[in-house]
Amino acid sequence: MNCNYCEWRCDLSKGNGICGRYIVSNGIIAEKEPMSWISYYFYRIEEMPFFHALPGAIVMQIGTKGCNASCDYCVNAHIAIKEEPGQTLKPITGKHLVQLAIDGGAGAVVFAINEVTVFLPSAIEAARAAHEAGLKVGCLTNGYLTEESANMLGNEMDFINISLKSISDEFYQKNLGLPSVKPILRNIKALSKLAHIEVLTPIVHEITHDEVLKIAYFIADVDENIPWHLFRLQPTYKRVDENPLDIGAMIKIVEQAKKILPFIYFGNFAGSQWVNTRCPGCGHVLVKRVCIGSCGSKFGSIDMDGNRCPKCGKNIPVIR
């Protein structure tokens, strides 16, 4: 019996799938530990990162464990890839989660920490409870999900951050253990029609000028208003001994790519000056942020007239 949540389409009658989070139960594919969570905490939405959804909002970040990829630079390998002794999930109902979120001052629930595809039924159940209570819902995904799952996700989420780690199959095979980038490219196109999306490219390695431009052209072809986060990572997990990214060199590439996409951000390192949202029409700073280092940015201030630039009147795609 094949699992249809992600593109691996594992045959679960032969045992655990790649992610190890689904089983066959009473003839159907079910989660091993439904509605059970490893962690929840409150952050600003910029730290997820989402820059064009609910600027400044406090969100409850929540997740489980496991992943369908095995990135050799995973920053959450302790829950996504490795099994740590003593690591347990705690059952929390959708209703109780929503209560905790509201008590914590959150305006949204965001499924993050690990890949949402490995707990999709629980994410959908919790998302529906959150929507019923008037909260927004978002998630982070590596995009390696089936068309059916992408459709479900797009219909249940208000905003989605999709990780596009490279444009080449070779990179995905070598560094993520995934056969191809093609399903991810397909899902970016599909999800952009169903929900607000932002694309994130984590960079732990030296990325070529050519590859940055290729990704920028791909995103622009889908929708030039999609925000793109170039997300610097400190070498970690299996790459911990590698040299860190040369930020100065990367900045020059980012400046080039800005000519292709109006909303490019380069952050996740302290002091970055490439995290503000500027009006593509007149350059006015619309949303000011401070990049405090690892794990994203802090919200500073917003200067918009509804969804328009207060200086030139240009329409800016931001969910308020």
Partner: protein
């Protein structure tokens, strides 16, 4: 004007300390010199034992350059490693010995009179406090291991708290205010409805750790070991006064703070000093740094031991690169106007947020992810 500099693997940027805005025309000779010093001293990382040596290398570089009358060295590496990694007994001994070897190196190479404080040992976690009967989640942070706050409480929570196991002390917001009426209004406003203190070794909120399983937790220490060549403190709140009096006598003083070091690990001859003010036991970390830097009791700080994460997250307008606070203490040993001061160490944020020394050099890390080196060059003094 105070400036900060962030050095991320050699990429440097200078920002206004208070606003976080880039500094276009840097007119700060000290900062210009610090920008030349830091590239040779990249931070090895929170769980890398080489960070112990890094602290002393930086302290020696700052001492050579600035010749401060007061310098604080803060070593957090032992605590961070023991919380996050399962060490063998040999590894555990090795990290502790490394610290004392490096402290000795610093003292032998300089002419400072020392005050070395063991902030407390580590222990196995005895248990997780069951909070399932409370109406909502407790707030706890890594700034205070034995404390948690209940915000948004509901009527039946008082009875639940009375019956919770492993709670050593619980105080309501109003009882706290009645006991310490001199606290600032903002402090009172940030207090939780209930502030809870756990029994030694029992921990709160497992759900806020992103799945990280802690291997050890700090001991709750009613007394701390202290070695000094100066006057002997009987209580942690006396430390600042003793250091200041020594400086009045023309001595140069080094305050050396050792996180994760208790009596069993302390390699120098020591005496014990009090670490408790009324019911409040200073937890290993922030409250101890504030105690030695300000000499004030906990209810006179700018923030309570636990703040609501919503309040905390909302206060990022001032000092945006100070990770924990947007109100920084003004009356500290580091701000003494007639003496040069410096602070260095591996406890990201707390180094400058508590001492406010003339020059602060610390790692810039969040959730064990390293972001480089942070330098504060504070408002200039005429010394």
């Amino acid at each position: 004007m105070a400036n900060i500099m962030l050095d991320v693997n050699g990429w440097q940027t200078v920002l206004n300390f208070e606003t976080g805005e880039p500094v276009e025309d840097l007119n700060d000779l000290i900062m210009e010199d610090m920008m030349k010093i830091t590239p040779a001293l990249p931070y090895p990382g929170d769980t890398n034992p080489e960070s112990v040596d890094w602290t002393v290398d930086v302290a020696l570089a700052v001492s050579d350059y600035y010749n401060p009358d007061f310098i604080m060295l803060a070593f957090s590496t032992q605590q961070i490693i023991k919380i996050n990694e399962q060490l063998t007994p040999e590894e555990s001994v090795a990290i502790n010995e490394r610290i004392f070897k490096q402290v000795t190196r610093f003292l032998e190479k300089t002419d400072y009179e020392a005050m070395v404080i063991g902030m407390g040992g580590m222990q196995d976690i005895k248990g997780v406090i069951d909070q399932s009967k409370l109406s909502t989640g407790l707030t706890s942070t890594m700034c205070a291991y034995h404390y948690a706050g209940l915000f948004m409480s509901r009527e039946n929570d008082a009875d639940v708290i009375k019956n919770m196991e492993h709670i050593k002390y619980a105080i309501t917001k109003d009882d706290f205010k009645a006991a310490h009426p001199e606290m600032k209004d903002a402090y009172y406003g940030m207090l939780p409805d209930y502030l809870l203190m756990s029994s030694d070794g029992y921990v709160f909120n497992e759900m806020g750790k992103r799945g990280i399983v802690h291997k050890k937790t700090p001991r709750m220490m009613h007394e701390l070991p202290v070695y000094t060549t100066l006057e002997r403190p009987n209580h942690i709140l006396e430390v600042r006064g003793i250091l200041e009096r020594a400086m009045d006598e023309g001595k140069k003083v080094a305050l050396i703070m050792l996180e994760g070091t208790g009596t069993e690990d302390f390699k120098f001859p020591y005496n014990m000093m009090g670490n408790q003010t009324e019911w409040f036991v200073h937890d290993q970390g922030l409250s101890q740094y504030l105690a030695v830097a300000t000499g004030k009791p906990f209810y006179n700080y700018d923030y309570p031991p636990i703040v609501n994460s919503v309040n905390y997250l909302n206060t990022s307008e001032k000092y945006p690169y100070s990770q924990h606070f947007s109100v920084l203490p003004e009356d500290t040993i580091g701000r003494r106007p007639d003496k040069r001061t410096a602070a260095v160490g591996t406890r990201s944020g707390f180094i400058h947020e508590t001492t406010m020394a003339d020059i602060c050099v610390e790692c810039h890390s969040r959730q064990l992810s390293m972001s480089g080196v942070f330098v504060l060059v504070n408002d200039p003094k005429d010394v």
